[in-house]
């Protein structure tokens, strides 16, 4: 009975979405106060019904209701309790429900935190988000009903995909979706501004905090996903340019561009059309990501079970939302840029460069991701575009960005003597070059890339701290939350760049056939293979290897990589063991048994500074959140 109730709740939520999309909008256009005021109650009631549906599905997982097809396919009675809740979003239908739930939460959040905004603006924003929710609810109901019954009910369910049975799974999808869906807010503000016809700096000030929060969540989601791939998949890498990773990275890049262009539009009034376009693009790319993951158009490790009907449905929805908003943009975007004038040497120009580089990178990734599809459509054969393409082009586009980042905060709006920031940064640039030169000649087994790691890291860190010093020294004005956030994020970038280049240039790996008692030396560490034993987990059996690691005779770690065989379905999973550290990770994965003498294939890695990659991303995310606390955003409507 309960699952039908969940379905009913979804249908009601869909109807409420239609009302939310219509009534407040009509009210705002016609100046009808009661209709305008209906936006908030409608938003809250939609959240209520979506929440009911979500709770019902969760309940079905907890009580093992295998008469629900989705539950029977994605869990069984052996599934540990801590994975029963995340199992809700373990496959297509449930993850879509999670998506809709998060969208409803964002809608309700906008309804709550927009008290100081003019009522018609709130009405238009909520109505736009209402239409987005209608699209996703219809998608859920018509093609992917999570409450579909299985008759007769299964006695025992299949299992949650073992890949997903990891603590990372608990947080990765919700964080990622919160980021994706969060861009709907900036999108809705942009559409509302276009509908209103008043495309001024005001809408940007209102939407900035939302963009920051969404972007920060997306950063955390992607970073956690990357960490999860590294930690769980046993591939040893942290980024694979997989189509689905790309799908999340494109909105991240455009969202980052949006953050910066919003800052210009809000403060100087320039780039108004461009900011609108980026706000539309960031959310459009989020939607495109959903399409790519769920339509089966591209093959990927992440792809959900593909279904062309679903693909067509999302495509139609994309066409309506993106096509509609771009048409609105074409009709209504400001023709004149009424911002304050600026010359070539100004912060505006630097931020424009930032925007062009970031959107250029997003375009390049879009092209690379869709190229196989294009080649297939034009009958050029099946082609896959690999890491070499992405790695090269991305580096080419990001290197100038790294060079320019420290200049941004030190350069004045409107007009700057180029000599000024150059003079401030020259010592830091020189220092970074000296460090890089020392590293290049002295670092054990270092390469030009190792030197580049120190060059980029020191330059970004030094340049950013130079800005902090400038503010402290001048003492004029306080250090605002916005500056704190920017500083943290730029330091995060320094840490990230350093981590990426160090890991890529100094990691070593080794595939060995190990007999019990045998030792292997790698980068100064000594890996001694003790042996493999059989162990029993809650819903799997495993072979567990023991490897003792020492350095110069001193023990460092005992590592226990596993190879698990899950009870249901017999899926095999490699559970690598990682000894993490700030300056290096040791990583051991267990391969296959190589014979009766107890020898096994082992894969050993030493990965210097790999944690800095995620640490950097974490700092960027914290920076993104910090900006929101700037007092400026809480001030009630200021006269423009």
């Amino acid at each position: 009975m309960l699952p039908e109730l969940g379905l009913l709740a979804l249908i009601l939520a869909l109807l409420l979405g239609v009302l939310l999309g219509t009534l407040p909008l009509v009210g705002a256009q016609r100046g009808h106060a009661a209709l305008v005021a209906s936006a908030r109650p409608l938003a809250y009631s939609q959240l209520f019904f979506v929440g009911v549906a979500y709770a019902v599905l969760t309940h079905a997982f907890v009580v093992h209701d295998f008469s629900v097809a989705y539950v029977a396919t994605n869990s069984n009675t052996l599934l540990p309790t801590m994975y029963q809740l995340p199992a809700v979003w373990g496959a297509h239908e449930g993850s879509l429900l999670l998506w809709v739930t998060i969208l409803s939460l964002w809608i309700a959040a906008v309804a709550t935190f927009s008290r100081s905004l003019p009522a018609p603006v709130v009405a238009r924003v909520l109505a736009t988000m209402g239409w987005v929710s209608v699209g996703f609810l219809a998608f859920l109901l018509f093609t992917s009903n999570p409450f579909a019954r299985l008759l007769p009910a299964a006695v025992e369910g299949r299992d949650l995909n073992p890949l997903l049975q990891d603590p990372g799974m608990i947080f990765h999808p919700p964080l990622l979706y919160t980021g994706y869906v969060g861009f709907a807010v900036a999108f809705a503000f942009a559409v509302a501004a276009l509908l209103d016809g008043k495309v001024d700096a005001q809408w940007v000030r209102w939407s900035r905090p939302w963009t920051n929060v969404a972007w920060a969540f997306l950063t955390l989601g992607i970073a956690l996903g990357s960490f999860w791939a590294y930690y769980e998949l046993g591939w040893g890498g942290w980024w694979f340019w997989d189509p689905v990773e790309n799908a999340s990275f494109m909105p991240w890049l455009v969202g980052l561009g949006l953050l910066h262009s919003q800052a210009v539009t809000e403060k100087r009034g320039s780039f108004r059309g461009w900011t609108l376009l980026l706000a539309i693009a960031a959310f459009s790319l989020s939607l495109l990501g959903t399409f790519l993951v769920r339509s089966g158009v591209l093959t990927s490790v992440h792809a959900f079970a593909s279904d062309p009907a679903r693909g067509l449905f999302i495509l139609g929805f994309l066409a309506l939302i993106i096509g509609g908003s771009l048409l609105l943009f074409a009709l209504r975007a400001p023709t004149d840029d009424k911002g304050q004038p600026f010359v070539a040497a100004s912060r505006e120009t630097l931020l424009l460069a930032n925007n062009l580089l970031l959107s250029g990178a997003a375009m390049m990734i879009l092209l690379g991701t869709l190229y196989p599809l294009l080649a297939e459509a034009l009958d050029l054969g099946k082609i896959s575009v690999g890491p070499p393409y992405f790695g090269l082009l991305f580096t080419v586009l990001m290197a100038p960005l790294v060079l320019l980042v420290p200049f941004g905060p030190l350069t004045r709006w409107q007009r700057e003597q180029p000599a000024q920031p150059l003079r401030m940064l020259a010592p830091w640039g020189a220092l970074a070059l000296v460090v890089a030169a020392i590293v290049f000649f002295r670092w054990p087994q270092g390469t030009a890339k190792t030197a580049a790691a120190w060059l980029g890291g020191a330059w970004l860190l030094g340049g950013t701290l130079r800005f902090v010093w400038q503010r402290v020294k001048q003492g004029k004005g306080r250090f605002t939350a916005e500056m704190t956030g920017m500083t943290l994020a730029h330091v995060g970038l320094a840490v990230f760049v350093f981590g990426v280049l160090m890991t890529e240039s100094t990691s070593r790996e080794m595939d060995v056939a190990a007999k019990p008692g045998q030792s292997f030396a790698l980068r100064g560490y000594d890996f001694r293979f003790v042996g493999v034993e059989r162990v029993q987990g809650p819903n799997y059996r495993a072979d567990r290897g023991t490897i003792q690691v020492s350095r110069n005779g001193a023990p460092v770690a005992t590592m226990l990589p596993e190879k698990r065989e899950y009870a249901s379905g017999g899926a095999l999973m490699t559970e690598a063991d990682i000894d993490g550290g700030l300056s290096r990770d040791l990583y051991v994965a267990l391969g296959d048994s190589l014979g009766p003498d107890g020898s096994w294939a082992l894969r050993l890695y030493v990965k210097p500074f790999i944690r800095w990659i995620w640490l950097g991303a974490l700092l960027m995310a914290i920076g993104g959140f910090a900006v929101v606390f700037d007092k400026r955003f809480r001030r009630p409507v200021a006269s423009p």
């Binding site: 059309g273 376009l277 539309i280 693009a281 459009s284 399409f291 339509s295 089966g296 158009v297 591209l298 093959t299 593909s306 279904d307 062309p308 693909g311 067509l312 495509l315 994309l318 066409a319 993106i322 096509g323 771009l326 048409l327 943009f329 074409a330 975007a333 023709t335 869709l370 599809l373 294009l374 297939e376 459509a377 054969g381 099946k382 379905g569 017999g570 899926a571 095999l572 391969g591 296959d592 048994s593 190589l594 294939a601």
Partner: protein, 179 residues
Amino acid sequence: MRRLLPLIAFVALAVLLFAGVRMNSGKDTSAIPSPLLGKPTPAFSLPVLGDPQRRVGNADLRGRPYLLNVWGSWCPTCRDEHPHITALAKSGKVRVIGYDYKDTPEDAQAWLGQFGNPYEFIVADEDGRAALDWGIYGAPESFLVDANGVVVWKHVGAIDDTVIREQIEPKLMQMGAAR
């Protein structure tokens, strides 16, 4: 005009994605048969797994019907399929030849070591180049080829006892009758 550019770009993208979905619907429903059905197998020459000096091509396989089973050590479904393939090979009803798709010899050998090797021999297509000619999208996939080297049946996905009983065996009977 300049403001129309994003819309135009999006329309082009949407058309491409639409084409992608359409292409895909052909791929995923087995209702649309492989274009190879009723045609000779594509020309190929691939090394034999475990004996890379030896290469096998169409001509070497003429004379007796065979089932070409596409698998890879990276493919979880192949593991589910494996006992059924083993049973089919053991029954002696048809030669079963392996096609190791996008795999490394080391991984493939280790996998066979763990699960057993039912194949008469295995051709190795490490980079998946030859698979393009066969129209192989992934693993597992299987082709039934008659004594004259003509593809008579193709299956996408795992073979189980039902598929063997209801599809492969009748095809083999027909071939036997035709001979």
